[in-house]
Symmetry: C2
Subunit: 346 residues, 2 copies
């Protein structure tokens, strides 16, 4: 299989996408074509044997071949002397965290051009990228979430009980997130959050709440699960700490939980995954309180694809690439226009 | 203002998009550039003075100029002898009903290429195009909807009380929708619905329920509303009847309702519109039962832009084009990659 890894993108998580994508070299045993989307929304083909993070921070990637997305793939730019050449890829893997990758943009571009890809489809992006929509979706599929309040920029924000955690609705990797312990700290935290988004959610901050992460996907209508991990955490994971996580390739430790709780967590994962996440390998982060499972967030393009949670990651990616949702063929005819014309006597 | 109307698209509503777009010539007094997306996902520039529905049913549009979407606009294809020429447009108007237009694809393409457009953004598309997500979203913003059950293709569908209305989750214009009066009629209706989608919702069919339509948009943070119309309806509007609606340009009649109900409907519209629909002129269809307002559906690209509900449609489109959401500028730096490199001593 020739796997095209799409990474970069215009987002606050541009850098972690780079680190995350590079980590794939060590965990997927197949021919990889690296396709980088830079800050100017130009695509570049990065040679797999020389890829490293410094290539991007130094801007040396600009010496690599610029490519363009067309009807059935990425192509080099042609010139008077040479024809455009196609980058041969069987399946693409969307590895752009944050905007462009998790917000539906790259899904739309790939679908518009009929390319087959591993990653969240458009609706799956909307309900996971926007934390407010995650809450509504989660409720619809019967999975509990932590209580919350939703505010837009012009709303008056009233908080009755502290501590709370304030999150911009649309960012991942803890960017713009603050734990607020009193009214005095509120204004600054709101400023920070609204710098990144026009809407926020506020949740009670529950110290010491148990957190469990589970990754998985649906292959031929059956779920394939990773182990359940209890992530190591400080008060909460900030960008720096999470960042290091994106380069992870060593195996994680299975959480020490009861079989019953494990099943509850897997049931919640399945309910969330539903049919909306078909085609994607996602990681769901859950809270557990009094033996009840609450969805914290859905990572539709998890850091380093959560490879460290699987013992058979390479195999899963290969099987998933053969079990991707098909686009329904829509036939366009002009029956109704013809009918109108007939009725007009034209 | 030079308005670029994008229409067509690969969807079951391709034809009604054509009729709807052509209707704009009579109601918007500005220079229009018609941009047609055909069944092969090729764009064509259609001359405004010769546009008519027959051009498409006859496939004569293929004689028009083929154009391509690039970084800052649509361009004619260059050749050895001529440079690509840009189609000059100030603002685009998304008039693709159904897939490609209402599902987030065109929004993604336009945003990726930095083009300013009137129409629903990606998340707004997801929560209105998928009727199951509409239910969850509506609940989140505090607007009631009719009770429903959600089924995917492999679920066993049990219906206790008839009549019900069965709807594929992702189609508009009543395609694939059936009113089912008994268990005997169920199987056929399910076959029809699942022919169009992998998931359906089932609602009780309430005969004679009052229906009211309201269109509007937010301009400079203030809502601009149309009149509220009580649409004429048969048992329910089927594709043929709704289709004719898409060409409407004559003014509708204001529904005869109390001031109180009018305010309730407007309040529900505002709650739905929220900030998610910023940039779009939408039509919300409500049911009213026992003086309670229920959302039926959100049309994020309404037929003929619901122009017939406004007395000042031309003015609204022009004002809206100057009040579109701005894309947040994201600066890409390489602080974290540099930090990692420093810690590695590289």
């Amino acid at each position: 299989m020739k796997l095209g890894i799409i990474f970069g993108g215009v987002s606050y998580e541009h850098e972690i996408s780079i680190v995350s994508a590079i980590a794939m070299k060590d965990v997927i045993n197949t021919q990889i074509q690296y396709i980088f989307l830079d800050e100017n929304r130009e695509f570049y083909h990065i040679p797999t044997d020389t890829i490293k993070s410094k290539l991007f921070s130094s801007k040396d990637y600009k010496k690599c071949q610029k490519i363009e997305l067309h009807k059935d793939g990425f192509y080099t730019q042609g010139s008077f002397l040479s024809k455009p050449k196609k980058i041969e890829v069987d399946t693409y893997l969307n590895m752009m965290h944050g905007a462009d990758g998790e917000d539906g943009v790259i899904s739309s571009l790939l679908e518009f051009n009929n390319l087959s890809y591993i990653g969240p489809r458009k609706e799956a992006c909307s309900v996971s990228f926007n934390k407010f929509l995650t809450k509504g979706y989660s409720l619809s599929v019967g999975v509990k979430t932590i209580d919350y309040k939703y505010f837009t920029r012009d709303d008056k924000v009233n908080i009755d009980n502290f501590p709370v955690i304030i999150k911009p609705v649309r960012l991942g990797s803890s960017i713009g997130v603050s734990v607020v312990k009193s009214n005095e700290e509120l204004e600054y935290a709101l400023d920070v959050a609204f710098e990144f988004d026009d809407a926020i959610i506020v949740e009670p901050f529950i110290n010491g709440i148990k957190e469990y992460n589970l990754a998985g996907c649906k292959i031929n209508n059956e779920f394939e699960f990773s182990i359940i991990e209890e992530p190591q955490k400080a008060e909460f994971l900030d960008f720096d700490k999470k960042y290091l996580d994106f380069a992870r390739t060593s195996t994680a430790l299975k959480a020490d939980i009861s079989k019953e709780l494990e099943e509850k967590i897997k049931k919640s994962f399945k309910d969330i995954y539903n049919t909306l996440f078909d085609g994607a390998l996602i990681r769901c982060d859950f809270f557990v309180k009094d033996n009840e499972v609450y969805l914290n967030e859905i990572n539709p393009v998890p850091g380093s694809m959560a490879n460290y949670l699987f013992s058979n990651f390479d195999e899963i990616i290969k099987k998933l690439s053969k079990s991707l949702p098909k686009t329904r063929k829509i036939l366009i005819n002009y029956d109704y226009v013809n009918k109108i014309q007939a009725s007009k006597g034209k």
